[in-house]
């Protein structure tokens, strides 16, 4: 089991290194800054915990605080996915934004009404809910994109799917921990594996710069199409009026 842990650790460090290297080669920092902020943060703590003795009395506090900040920073990845799928200034972005805000507000309301789960850690409860919100956000972005047939580039798609794999494992992991200690051996293995898997998916999808393909309807065409539609609609009204009252 210890060997497996070392293998997973080395694999995750390699993936992080590759992500930074490839991002530096093709300018990933400029294309996906929010994503790289999150990646830098997690990479920093991966290295920092190497030099932080686990027996140190401050270790648990530092560890959980870093996890709490990471849980909040995960929204940067969700936002990165959102802003790359829906281009700025488009109608679809406005619609998708509204849908997602409504869903997140409803989710927050549900959390508030249900209150914290009794007898469980508030930190874990908070992290679970943050993960669920970020996961739901990403699923809705993918759903709305699918509904409007927006093609998603490999970079953003991989970012979203890798992220979903990790946050979903986190939701199940933290819920199972609080549910019964019998689940701990399973999820103690699955959760780190999901993290490494997420990094592997990210490394594969962000190896080269593959942005979203140009979608069929350019936003600049919007007013033109609208005026054409209005013209045709007026012409149809006129014809029907003539036929009814010749």
């Amino acid at each position: 089991m210890a060997y497996l842990g070392v293998v997973l650790f080395l694999f995750s460090v390699s993936c992080q290194g590759l992500l930074f290297w490839r991002g530096w080669r093709w300018g990933g920092w400029h294309a996906y800054p929010l994503f790289y902020i999150y990646l830098s943060y997690t990479s920093f703590w991966t290295v920092a915990f190497l030099f932080f003795p686990h027996t140190h009395p401050l270790y648990p506090k530092v560890y959980w605080n870093s996890e709490l900040v990471a849980a909040v920073l995960r929204f940067l990845v969700a936002w990165e996915v959102f802003r790359n799928v829906f281009r700025h200034g488009t109608v679809i972005r406005r619609i998708a934004g509204t849908v997602i805000v409504v869903v997140l507000v409803l989710l927050a309301l549900a959390f508030w009404l249900s209150g914290p789960s009794p007898g469980v850690s508030s930190v874990i409860d908070f992290m679970r809910k943050m993960a669920l919100s970020a996961g739901v956000w990403t699923v809705f972005v993918l759903g709305v994109a699918r509904f409007y047939r927006i093609r998603i580039g490999q970079n953003t798609w991989g970012m979203a799917i890798g992220f979903l794999i990790f946050v979903s494992s986190e939701i199940a992991n933290f819920a199972a921990f609080d549910l019964s200690s019998r689940f701990i051996p399973i999820w103690r293995f699955v959760h780190p594996f999901a993290y490494v898997f997420m990094l592997a998916v990210w490394t594969w999808s962000l190896w080269d710069y593959v942005p979203n393909p140009q979608n069929e309807t350019d936003s600049s065409l919007g007013p033109l199409l609208l005026s054409e539609w209005q013209r045709q609609s007026a012409a149809l009204d006129e014809t029907i009026r003539k036929v009814i009252q010749p």
Partner: protein, 197 residues
Amino acid sequence: MIQLLLMVFIGILLLCFALFALGRKSRTKSEDYSDSDLELLRMLRLGSLEFDATNLFSDTDYRLLASEPLLRSLAQELRKDRRDIALEWLRELQKDVFSMWRFRSFLTRLGVAASIRNELSEAVRSLLLLSLLRVVRVSIRLLGPYAFGKTAIAVRTSVENLKRSCAARLSDLPRERWPQIAAEWQRVQGLRIYSAQ
């Protein structure tokens, strides 16, 4: 307790969704198109499939107009126009079936491996589609556009499947060869148009 169980369930559901999406993506390859991919998409682009014919075969507006005695002549005119458009569209659909058939034989000519059984079944499929298209066209000419609308839409779906099978066959080839195939296909198409003239 219920909340925790729900969370476990949602977590597992999301995980399955993400893994399914990942598996699906690797099966369908990339959705992002390089220049050669775009070239191929252009090759496999079927004009008839870009037209959504659902409204064309819907008789809602015809019935609405026909229910008004004053608008009956307009309804007849609409029906006739629809019939002509439907026939035109079905002609395009027929052309596209031929085009896909030619494309398949072109791929075979280039050495794309296909079993005889597969070849035969595709040929039979194309023939059946063409026969069905002929029947639908005659029916629409005789009975108008609304009687066989659903059949026409079903034929469209079959043509779409035909196109998909062509694309799948193409994806068996190494991507390096795609630009060459695109150029060769364009040349063959050009020759065909020239000889037809």
